[in-house]
């Protein structure tokens, strides 16, 4: 029905378990939509068998940061599925997540991916690595890190690759060289769209030669029949996407059990398979092993820890006068 009533208000009497139905409100980032929508029916079935209760989902998909802010600002999601821990942190900071979500299985992460490059079929420009993005005349697409969580991963990857390269050459991390590298790539950027998806769309309609994006995004497009080449750079970053129960909301709606179960389910085999099919690198060890061959390993894969963790990245890269700002302002 209509639009009355507050968001996330579960149907009454759902707390008890056993009978009736329960409504789970999911606030997720857009990229996860296809996978989640495949997973939900599976969970519904399982839950029904287990408790005899019907689970209904109310889903909202938006850019990760937007979603985080919406939840922090009062959107009563029971489960948050976001593209990076920083966004879950936002929700936590708003006092909505009380448990230590990182201590869960897989450190709270449900999927992995890496930042890769996509080119037109046949890789006409012969792009092999991030270095090639600095060549004059190469038109590069990545989204705007101000608005897109994905873009932050992309920038992190390029910046980190620069850092790694300097470390490989000189033995020490040279932030200045990394910054120069990032700036050189940035000069070739044709457009910074507001989200990874928008960037992908632009690429799909003929804009640019190379897109820097999540591996799973590219794989999903290729699975749809679009012809791209995936170029895995020699040095790139490992992406980890978290999911967490928003305690305050789940308790308020009395759907704690289902919410916990759902998050657990996301870590489970069935869900991980589905994620993998959608192009995510599974996090569960057994599934990961099974899919190992499907996902090429970059020469040097680093994680956010290499850059000092999200807090450090936010303060050095994305602060108001940080590296990213200086790159844009051309300083």
């Amino acid at each position: 029905g209509g639009g009355n009533g507050g968001a996330g208000q579960a149907s009454p009497g759902s707390a008890g378990g056993g009978k009736g139905s329960v409504t789970l409100v999911i606030g997720a980032y857009s990229v996860a939509k296809d996978a989640l929508q495949e997973i939900m029916p599976e969970f519904r079935e399982e839950w029904k068998q287990k408790t005899g209760q019907d689970v209904k989902f109310q889903e909202s998909y938006d850019a990760s940061g937007t979603q985080a802010r919406a939840i922090a600002g009062g959107f009563e999601a029971d489960v948050a599925v976001l593209s990076m821990e920083g966004d879950i942190d936002k929700v936590e900071k708003a006092g909505l997540i009380k448990n230590d979500w990182r201590s869960g299985p897989d450190g709270g992460m449900i999927t992995r991916s890496i930042v890769v490059m996509g080119t037109r079929a046949g890789n006409p420009l012969g792009i092999r690595d991030f270095d090639d993005l600095t060549k004059p005349g190469v038109k590069v697409l990545y989204p705007n890190p101000d608005t897109s969580g994905g873009a932050q991963w992309d920038i992190n990857a390029i910046y980190g690759a620069g850092l790694k390269e300097s470390e490989d050459k000189t033995g020490a991390k040279d932030p200045a060289a990394a910054k120069t590298f990032l700036a050189a790539v940035h000069r070739n950027v044709e457009s910074m769209d507001k989200s990874g998806r928008a960037s992908m769309a632009a690429f799909e309609y003929g804009v640019g030669d190379v897109i820097v994006t999540y591996e799973n995004e590219l794989l999903a497009r290729i699975a749809q029949g679009v012809k791209y080449d995936v170029v895995t750079p020699s040095r790139t970053i490992l992406i980890e996407n978290p999911a967490a129960v928003v305690d305050v909301n789940a308790d308020k709606h009395g759907v704690r059990a289902a919410a916990d179960a759902f998050v657990a389910f996301l870590h489970g085999e069935k869900a991980q398979e589905i994620f993998a099919k959608q192009g995510f690198r599974p996090i569960a060890a057994d599934v990961a092993a099974e899919w190992q061959s499907k996902f090429p390993q970059p020469k040097e894969l680093f994680d956010i820890g290499y850059l000092g963790g999200w807090d450090e990245v936010r303060s050095t890269l994305y602060s108001s006068r940080g590296v990213w700002y200086q790159v844009q302002a051309g300083r």
Partner: protein, 271 residues
């Protein structure tokens, strides 16, 4: 007497209702934005505004919005005129299409422009061969702005033309004025309030348009980043004060322009 009292109460009630609505719905959120811009104090506001990326985006937006508005004034006046004064097959279809740009979701609009102006389109090719790119450059932004503000001038001009008294026009003819002259000296000035009304709306809307622009603008700071996208970025990167600061700049600018226009107009017609 009860009748009179009733009337007084009614009119008083209406007045308060309107004013209240106006204040609550319009003035309040706007004041809210001003307040928001000051959450971190004046210094922060000044900082946010002197930020080159910020003011460059505002300048760019104002410039392009002005362009778009001028284009819309021209084609809007023409289309409004043609749709009201001439009878020709297809007229009502055209008239019904006027509001399309509003009804179409901006996401689709942006996408269409991407398709129509992009490198794979005829237009894109043609522009490329002439040595400039439309997409992700200023022309695309202007086209997007023109598109999303297209109905304003037309719709503001039309009812005016319908209500206009024919005799002024006739008087001009008898004084020897050609149709063109009559249009420019007699009819157009009468249309000016409508054109202005429409143009102001178009200008404001163009200043703030996001959805359609963001897909085709390129959003490169200092070059193709428009204010609304900058604002969006600031919000997304958890700097609502910075977003509000730029908004405040646009709002103040807009307000001043609007005030000036209404002042000049009232001076010009003595009303």
């Amino acid at each position: 007497m009860t009748n009179m009292l009733q009337n007084r109460w009614w009119s008083w009630g209406f007045r308060s209702a309107i004013l209240l609505y106006f204040i609550l719905l319009i003035v309040f959120p706007i004041i809210g934005i001003y307040g928001q811009s000051l959450t971190n104090g004046w210094a922060a506001l000044v900082d946010n505004l002197t930020e080159p990326i910020a003011w460059k985006s505002v300048l760019l937006t104002a410039k392009l919005a002005l362009f778009a508005t001028i284009i819309n004034i021209l084609i809007g006046t023409m289309a409004g005129w043609v749709l009201i004064r001439y009878r020709f097959p297809g007229r009502s279809l055209l008239n019904s299409m006027v509001d399309l740009p509003f009804a179409l979701p901006t996401a689709v609009v942006g996408l269409m422009m991407l398709l129509l102006l992009g490198p794979r389109s005829e237009v894109g090719h043609w522009a490329d061969s002439l040595g400039f790119t439309i997409l992700f450059h200023e022309p695309a932004i202007v086209v997007a702005m023109v598109f999303v503000t297209f109905p304003f001038v037309i719709r503001a001009v039309q009812p005016l033309l319908e209500e206009m008294d024919a005799s002024e026009e006739e008087a001009a003819y008898t004084l020897g004025a050609s149709r063109a002259k009559t249009f420019f000296r007699v009819i157009l000035p009468a249309m000016v309030p409508g054109i202005m009304s429409g143009a102001m709306l178009a200008f404001s809307r163009a200043l703030a348009e996001f959805g359609a622009v963001v897909l085709v603008a390129g959003n490169i700071p200092g070059r193709t980043l428009v204010a609304s996208v900058y604002i969006y970025g600031q919000i997304e990167s958890d700097n609502p004060a910075g977003a509000a600061a730029v908004s405040v700049l646009l709002l103040t600018f807009s307000f001043l322009v609007l005030w000036l226009v209404s002042y000049v107009q009232s001076r010009r017609t003595g009303r």
